[in-house]
C-alpha cells in the first residue's frame, strides 16, 4: 500500500448523498458529467476547487442517504481519493470500496479538529499514520478491516479473488 498526499476539503456532519450528487443527475452515468455536480448540494463551487488526489475530511455519518453509487463515483471523478470521516453511512462505505472509488478511513474527534480546510496532509497506509503537512502533527489511524483492504487493492469487488470461501 502506498502514501497519499493532498489538500483537504473540510465538511461537517451528515453530508448525505442528495447533497453529494442531487437526484436529478441519477440518469447520468458519465463520470465527467457527475464530477461537474459533485457536492452541489453544499458547495456548488466544489468541482472548481478540487484537485486530483485531494482528501475530504468530514464529521459523523458521511454519505448517509441513498444507495446511489453515483455519490462515490462523482467524488472520485472530481479527484477525491480518500475520505476521512468520524463515521460513514454503511452503503456509502461499501460502495466506495467495492467500486474502488475511494478509501474511507475512520478518524476520531482529535484528528478532525486538528485539520483545517485547505491543509495539506499525507496518509501512509503502511504505517497507518496521517500527517498534517501544513500545521505539523502526526496521528495514528485505526486499522482497516482486512477484507476492505483486499477488495480495494484488487481494484474493486469484481476484480477481487477471495482468499478463502
Amino acid at each position: 500500500m502506498k502514501v497519499f498526499r493532498g489538500r483537504v476539503h473540510k465538511f461537517g456532519d451528515d453530508i448525505d448523498t442528495d447533497v453529494i450528487i442531487p437526484g436529478k443527475y441519477l440518469k447520468e452515468f458519465d463520470p465527467k458529467e457527475l464530477a461537474k455536480h459533485a457536492m452541489e448540494g453544499v458547495d456548488p463551487e466544489f468541482p472548481r476547487k478540487v484537485g486530483v488526489g485531494d482528501f475530504i475530511l468530514a464529521g459523523e455519518n458521511f454519505g448517509c442517504g441513498s444507495s446511489r453509487e453515483h455519490a462515490p463515483m462523482a467524488l472520485h471523478a472530481a479527484g477525491i481519493r480518500i475520505v476521512l470521516a468520524k463515521s460513514f453511512a454503511r452503503i456509502f462505505y461499501r460502495n466506495s470500496i467495492n467500486g474502488a472509488y475511494l478509501l474511507p478511513i475512520e478518524i476520531d474527534d482529535d484528528i478532525y479538529n486538528s485539520i483545517s480546510d485547505g491543509d495539506e496532509v499525507e496518509l501512509d497506509l503502511n504505517k497507518m499514520t496521517l500527517r498534517n503537512l501544513t500545521s505539523g502533527g502526526e496521528f495514528a489511524l485505526k486499522e482497516i478491516p482486512e477484507i476492505v483492504v483486499e477488495i480495494f487493492e484488487a481494484g474493486g469487488i469484481l476484480k477481487w479473488k477471495p482468499k478463502k470461501l
Binding site: 452541489e40 441513498s66 452503503i91
Partner: protein
C-alpha cells in the same frame, strides 16, 4: 446463548451453526432487486465483463419506478437500455411501467409477495430495509455490489449487532407507524443504528398490520441501519399462505443477545414531524402546528401503500384541499384497490391530483419538484436539502393522516381534530 432473527437468517445463508456480531461472512442471497437507476449500471458491468449469465434469473426481479414516465429522452434511453439488458440476461420478473402491474419497488415487493420471511434479500436501493417488515433480512446496496451478487449469488456481509425496540401498548387512532418511526429516529439519531440491525417487537407490533410494519422498517434506513426486522407472526403467515408462498419462519431465540434494548410506550407517541434537514430532527406536530405550507405529497414506498391511502381518505372525505396536493399510489394494484374502495373519488372530489405510481417527486427527480423556498409536507422518508427539488426548498416528513389534515387546512395540522368531532 441464542441468536436474534437477523443472526439466524445469516447463519443459515452462510451454512453455519451460528454467527456473531462483527463477524464477516460469505452469505448466499435468495432474492435480488434492481430498478431503473441501479439496474442499467449493474447489468452493464456484467456485460462489459463478458459475463453470460446471472446466478439464477428466477431469483431476480426488475422494476421501472424512478424516472417513469420518462421525463426526457435520457431517461427514456435508460429504460430502453434496462429492457435490453434484462432481456439479454433472461430476467423475466420484469415490472414494466405502464404494462399490467408495476410501481415503486418496495411496495411492489410486498404486493407481489416477491420476498418471503427468512430470506436474504439484497436490493439496489437504500430502502430495501422495508421488506424486513415481513421477517426477511433485507438490505440495500450499490450497483457494483449488486453486479457481483448477480454474477455469483453471494456477497460478503458483516453480521450486524442488533438493537431491540420493545413497542409496548398500542398506537392511538390518529397515530401511525410513521410517527413511531420518526419518534424512534429522533431519539437515537440519523446514525443511531449505523451498521446495525433494528428489531421491533411487542404488543404495539402485534397490533400493527403488515403495511405499517413495512413503513417502520422502511424508516430504519434513516437511522443508518443495515436492516430493520420484525419476526413473522400469524398475520405474516396468513398473508403468504393466501399467496401460495411457502417459507420456514425464523424467529429470535428467547435468550438472544442484543447490543442495546429500548422500550417505547406506543400509546404515548404523538403525531410527529421531521423538520428539515434530517429525518432525525423530529418533534410532535403540536409544537409546530399552523406552519404555513405550499404543498402536500402523499406517496412513495413509505406513504403510498393502500393503508396509507385509506388513512388519508378518512380525513379528506367530504372536505376540500386548500393547497396543491398530489397523491401517488405506490403501485398499479394499490391504485386499482383504491379506485374500487372509492378512495380515488374521495381524493378527486377533495380537489387533489392523482399521480401515476412512480417515485418521481419523492427524490426530486420529476413529476412535481419543489421550487425555490417552497415548503412541502410529505409522507416520504427523506428531507435532506434539495431532496424534493430546489436546494432551498423544505420538506417536512409526516404520516399520511397528518399530511391529509395539512392539505385540508394549508398548514401543518395534527390529524386528531379531524378524527374526533
Amino acid at each position: 446463548m441464542g441468536m436474534t432473527i437477523t443472526e439466524k437468517i445469516l447463519a443459515r445463508a452462510s451454512n453455519k451453526e451460528r454467527v456473531d456480531p462483527g463477524e464477516i461472512i460469505i452469505a448466499r442471497v435468495d432474492k435480488v432487486m434492481i430498478h431503473d437507476v441501479s439496474g442499467p449500471p449493474a447489468l452493464k458491468i456484467l456485460e462489459d465483463l463478458g459475463v453470460e449469465k446471472v446466478f439464477d434469473p428466477s431469483r431476480v426481479w426488475v422494476t421501472e419506478d424512478h424516472f417513469v414516465p420518462p421525463p426526457d429522452t435520457k431517461s427514456a434511453k435508460n429504460l430502453i437500455e434496462l429492457r435490453r439488458l434484462a432481456a439479454k440476461y433472461g430476467l423475466r420478473k420484469y415490472y414494466r411501467w405502464g404494462v399490467g402491474q408495476y410501481g415503486v419497488c418496495h411496495a411492489l415487493c410486498f404486493e407481489e409477495a416477491l420476498v418471503a420471511p427468512g430470506e436474504v434479500f439484497i436490493g439496489g436501493d437504500s430502502h430495501t430495509n422495508t421488506a424486513g417488515g415481513i421477517g426477511s433480512f433485507a438490505a440495500g446496496m450499490g450497483h457494483t455490489d449488486i453486479a457481483f451478487i448477480l454474477k455469483n449469488g453471494w456477497t460478503w456481509l458483516r453480521v450486524p449487532e442488533t438493537l431491540l425496540f420493545k413497542i409496548n401498548g398500542k398506537l392511538r387512532e390518529h397515530v401511525m407507524a410513521k410517527d413511531l418511526a420518526l419518534h424512534i429516529i429522533g431519539e437515537i439519531g440519523a446514525s443511531g443504528a449505523s451498521y446495525k440491525a433494528m428489531e421491533f417487537k411487542g404488543e404495539g407490533i402485534k397490533n400493527m398490520n403488515l403495511e405499517e410494519r413495512l413503513t417502520l422498517c422502511n424508516m430504519t434506513t434513516e437511522a443508518g441501519a443495515k436492516n430493520g426486522i420484525i419476526e413473522p407472526d400469524e398475520k405474516t403467515i396468513q398473508y403468504f399462505k393466501e399467496r401460495g408462498v411457502e417459507f420456514k419462519p425464523v424467529c429470535s431465540d428467547e435468550d438472544a443477545e442484543y447490543l442495546e434494548e429500548f422500550s417505547v410506550d406506543a400509546s404515548k407517541v404523538e403525531p410527529m414531524v421531521a423538520k428539515p434537514v434530517s429525518p432525525a430532527n423530529s418533534s410532535p406536530v403540536s409544537e409546530d402546528e399552523g406552519l404555513e405550507i405550499d404543498r402536500v405529497y402523499i406517496g412513495s414506498c413509505t406513504g403510498g401503500k393502500l393503508f396509507d391511502l385509506r388513512m388519508a381518505a378518512r380525513i379528506m372525505k367530504n372536505r376540500r384541499v386548500k393547497i396543491r396536493t398530489e397523491i401517488a399510489p405506490a403501485t398499479q394494484s394499490i391504485y386499482l384497490k383504491a379506485l374500487n374502495e372509492g378512495l380515488i373519488e374521495i381524493f378527486a372530489k377533495a380537489g387533489a391530483i392523482i399521480l401515476p405510481p412512480t417515485c418521481g417527486a419523492c427524490f426530486g427527480g420529476h413529476m412535481g419538484v419543489l421550487g425555490e423556498g417552497e415548503i412541502c409536507v410529505s409522507t416520504t422518508n427523506r428531507n435532506f436539502p434539495g431532496r424534493m427539488g430546489h436546494r432551498s426548498s423544505k420538506v417536512y416528513l409526516v404520516s399520511p393522516l397528518t399530511a391529509a389534515a395539512s392539505a385540508i387546512t394549508g398548514r401543518l395540522t395534527n390529524p386528531r381534530e379531524f378524527l374526533h368531532g
